[in-house]
Structures are given as C-alpha cells and as structure tokens.
Symmetry: C2
Subunit: 345 residues, 2 copies
DNA sequence: TTGTACGCGTTATCAT
DNA sequence: ATGATAACGCGTACAA
C-alpha cells in the first residue's frame, strides 16, 4: 500500500542514513544535527509526501495509540452515541478508537477481543456479555489495560464505569407511585448481567416499599434478544387481567419502542390510562404524542470517565478505579398525573 | 503487551527454529515436516497460549485485513445501522472494520483518512464531505482501494455506491400530489454535496411537473449543521403566509425529528392538516402518532455492495464499479388522504 | 552523524 | 525427508 515512501527512500535521496531521517522527522537530537541537512531532509520528505508507517513504528515501540471498544450493538442509538463520545474523548488524548459489536454473544465477544489484542491495542473498553469473566480474567493476566463499561463482575477486580441502575429504577417507581399510580409494572430482561438485575431489583424494592405486598404478575421478563412478539405478549398480559397495570417501566429503549408502538395501535391513552417510563433516552421518545419520561444516563460523563479510567489503568494495571454515576429521571408528559386525577374527580 | 509469547519463545522451548514454528502454525510445507515435531510445536503453542502478532505479520505481508470506514456521524441512527451492516459484511470476508466520524468537516476527514492510511488499512469506504475531491484523488494516486458511500464526485472516476436520491424525491412529491396535496414544501440542506442536490432537484422537478409554476417559498434550505432554531424557523415559514404548505418532505431524519417535534407541539393534525414524508427510516418514525411515510434506503444492499465493490477495487484499482440503488417509498399514515378528503366533502 | 541491532513473523534458499 | 539460516518489511534508539 502507499507508494512505499519509506525512511530508506528519503535517506537515499538525501545521501544520509535512515536513522538520521528518523531523528529529523521526529525532532529528536535536534541540537546535534546539522541544520542544513535537516532542512534538506525535511524538504525531500515533504516533496515525497512521506508519512510514517504506523505499523512499523508500533512494532518497535510496542504502542499503537489505539483503544479497542466493544459494545453490545453499535446500531443501538444508545451505544452509537456513547461510542461517538468515546471516539472524541480518545482523540483528545491522541488515541484512535476501534469498535466492535458483540451482540451479547460470548463467542463473538471473545473473537473480537482476540482480534483487538492481536492487533496490539493499548487498552480495551468493554461491555462484556454474561459469562465473560474468564475472558476478562485472562486479559488481566496478560496485563492488558481494560475498563468495563455499563456493567461489571463482582468476582473480578477491574476498573469499571457504570450507572446506579438500582437507584434509577427505584426512583422511577417512586415517581410513579408519588403521582398516583397503584399498579406499577415493569418489562425488562431475564438476564444475569448485573446491571439488568439491578434494574429489576430496584423496581422490586420500590414496589415492595410502596405496596407492602408484591404482585408478581406486574414484573414481566423477556429475553435479551428482543423478540418482538414475546415483548408484545408481555405488554398485553400486563394490561389485562384482574389488576391491569396503570404504569409501566421499560427496561430498555428496544423494549420501549416495541411497546409504545403497540400502545399506539391500541386505544390506550398515555398518560391518562397508562403512565410509562423508559430506560435510556433516544430521539424517538420526544416524538411519542405524549413525550416519554425517561431515565437519562449521563452519556458524556460515562464516555469521559471510561477513557480516563482506561488511561489510569494503562499507567498501572493494578489501578482499578470504580466509577458509579447517577442517572437522572427526566419527567415528561407520559407520567403526568393531571389527566388521571381529572378523570377520578 | 501480552506476555510476549513469540515464535521465538516457542522455538526455544521446542528446540527448533522460529521459521519451523511459523510453518507448522500456518499449516505450510506440511508434507515436509516431521509429524512428531509438528505435534510438539502445536502442543507448546497451545500451552503457552500463543497468538500471532498481527502487527508484525502485517508489516511483512503488507496486508492488515482491515477496512477503514468514515461516515459523517456514527451517532446518527442511519449511519450506525449502515456501519453495523458493513461490519458484519466485512467480517464475512475476513476483514476487521475501523470507523470514524468526519462531522462533515474536511479537516477532520483528512486527518481520519491519514490515520487509517498510515495504519495501512487494505481499503477505504468513505462518505466524503464537500470539497474532498483532492483528498480522494491523492488516495487514488497512492493506489489505495476505496469506495465512496452515499455520495460521489462527478469529476472523479471512483467506485461508489449511492441511491438515486433524485428519483426518491421525485416519487415522494408525486405521491403527495397524487393524494391531493397542492402545496408541497421541502426542508433540506443548502449544501453542494451531490446527493443533497439530487434530493432538492428531484423535488423541484416533480413540483414543476405537477404545478406548472414553481412557488419558491415552498423550498427551504438550512445549514448542514442542523441548527434547531433555523430548522424550526423554516418550518414555521412554510406553514404560514398566504399559501401555507399542506405537505412537507424532510431532507433527512435530523430535520424530520426537529420538525415533527414542533408539529407535535403545534395544533396541526397529521395527515389532515399536513402530510409529511421523511428521508431515511429511523425507529422514531413509527412512534409518531401518525406513523410517518418515509423514503427507505436499502441499507442491507448498500452495505453489501460497498464491501463487494471495495473487494473488487482491492483486486484492481482501475476497477471502479458504480452502483446506483433505488430507494423505496414506504407509505404510512402521515400521507393518508382520507382525513383530508373527508374534510373537503 | 552513522551503523546496526531490534521488534516479530514470513518465506525463499541452503543444508543435512 | 527435515530442518535451519537469513533476508525482509520499516522505524527506533543505542553504541560507535
């Protein structure tokens, strides 16, 4: 690739050694080099449009200035935004960022990790799928700097950046009961990823607190593969029966999309008949006729911290900062109590 | 990085030369190698958990098995989906994909291109910003395989994959007039990127055809930086005055989001008072109370073709396939004529 | 200022 | 048949 304008070529043309060219082009030993030859070398380099072969450089210096990032699915707006922030943040520290999507698939994840490691990335920012402990552990044994993103494993001592999902769920449910909802349901994932457990447990704790007794029928668990009909079925179940939910917390933006679409086609009125809250913001939430109250993850902060933590971990692998950020409940129309209260009068 | 398990280490442990280890691990000269020593080498390699240093390999073979992709903004759902498809498609051919966002900024774009080229990617898939001709040309002079994505430059002979934006706009406007709309407006970008020109020109041609005379006030151009208040202002202008638009074509999903949000907060009824069509699908369009008719780009096909074209161009740089794909108008509720017709009766 | 070893894997050539 | 040697790709950095 390229036309092969190497140091050697420049050296030949200038009648000097390749080493000297390297020094000049990198501004090293600048005081010990004849300024005239330096000028000549620079001129030739520019004329030949030289640019360094980062491959060779990395091989020698053992540094690629590259960060590897693995998210669940880069086509998810949430991931896409986060990735973008990391990209910018990394660049500010001189790093190029390489991405991959794991699809929450352990095999795919491991393969991606391998690819990145073999390409000698300087560090990794990872959203590992369930069961990835051994893979992470091996990376640590190889002394590869890494930060877990959005999730972590209690059994491992790693750097991580997460949000307090438990508190976020808890606050959301509290908001719903405080605004007069009595049968708060939740549709979320049946997965053993800790951050998803937290969302579920925060919900359960809040329901328990506000209702004394828990109606298990109001918690619906669906597979992480986001099967549309399964999710729609869960919603229908929540809305039927003897005690239909009058409020629902959606465990992700994918779940929310599917459910809101169905709600749209039913004759339910939000927020009058049903209040809804969604985990994670996406643009679509503003387009629902009743703008959706949502749990806002501090994306900028997450991306910033992820890169900063990685930089620290790259300096010293035993340095494993654990950052827990708080999410914010953004109240919009979809949980407005007024409609409901009016009807009660 | 790594623990430094190199061929050399394995060779030492096995009491053979590094070259032999390389042959064994790559299944080369397999017939000329003692099977017992081969087994021993494989065993040691596995025991030491060896994996090849792709940096060194690439340096030697001059092949990185990497494709570089530059889009405008990876956090845009449209780009994110496309990127995901390219990622999968590339993987099927054994390529890792590296992404970057240019923000439609020429300087950023050039910097990204440089980074990728210096890292010796095997080829590039690019959505170049306006004015990038010289950069592309230089890449071609360096014999670097590339495919333009979603846009192209008539002055350059490159491979490209685009959709027929002119026809897409044309069809959209036709659909609107066929369903009884008389004052079809458009809000799109004031940019000299050809694909955006095409969108505009397709609109103009269709309006001209259906109306005989053109009312320039129904075409609003906004900056590509997606300034919210500018776009909102454009919409308000379209909806006011002596001949307010009764249908609008939005030139992108960003424009659509901003406008639909505003329409939501006004007391306009879609499709009764106003019909809308949007370029590019995103999930949000289904969540609008009146699901939005949109111009669907064949993302899968675009991604597939982009990778295929690149592979061809990598085989022979003078091979520059030009693929023009047709978009599809997906008619939903937002352009339904019934509401309007009922009112007319 | 320059020669040269080095990082690491590949492969053509040479030696048993 | 089996296996070793050495040059190579390209930039870096130390010794000369």
């Amino acid at each position: 690739m390229g036309k092969g304008v190497s140091l050697k070529v420049i050296a030949a043309k200038a009648g000097v050694s390749a080493a000297l060219v390297s020094y000049v082009l990198n501004n090293k030993k600048t005081d010990r080099i004849n300024k005239i030859t330096a000028q000549k070398i620079l001129a030739i380099a520019k004329e030949l449009n030289y640019s360094t072969n980062e491959l060779a450089k990395s091989l020698k210096t053992n540094k690629t200035n590259t960060i590897g990032v693995i998210v669940a699915d880069i086509s998810n707006p949430f991931s896409a935004s986060l990735v973008r922030i990391i990209e910018n943040q990394g660049e500010q520290s001189g790093y190029t960022t390489v991405f991959g999507s794991s699809d929450e698939d352990l095999v795919k994840f491991e393969k991606l990790v391998h690819t990145l490691v073999n390409r000698k990335v300087d560090g990794l920012i990872l959203s590992p799928p369930a069961g990835a402990e051994k893979i992470i552990l091996r990376l640590q044994q190889q002394d590869i700097p890494l930060v877990l993103l959005d999730r972590y494993f209690p059994s491992l001592k790693t750097a991580y950046v997460i949000i307090d999902n438990y508190a976020a769920s808890f606050e959301a449910v509290n908001h719903l009961s405080a605004t007069g909802r009595n049968r708060v349901g939740m549709i979320t994932y049946d997965a053993d990823l800790l951050h998803l457990q937290d969302r579920k447990n925060g919900y359960l704790a809040a329901v328990k607190k506000t209702k004394k007794r828990l109606d298990n029928n109001h918690l619906k668990l669906v597979g992480i593969e986001n099967n549309v009909s399964k999710i729609e079925e869960a919603l229908k179940e929540l809305l039927s029966g003897k005690a239909p939910a009058d409020a629902i917390l959606f465990g992700s933006n994918k779940i929310a999309l599917i459910c809101l679409r169905l709600i749209n086609s039913l004759s339910l009125i939000v927020p009058d008949d049903l209040a809804v809250i969604c985990f994670d913001y996406t643009e679509m939430l503003d387009l629902f006729y009743s703008p959706v109250t949502y749990i806002k993850q501090p994306l900028e902060a997450i991306g910033y911290q992820a890169v900063q933590c990685l930089l620290q971990n790259m300096g010293d692998t035993t340095n494993t900062p654990a950052i827990v950020l708080q999410a914010e409940l953004v109240v919009q129309e979809s949980t407005n109590a007024s409609g409901k209260l009016l009807r009660k009068k």
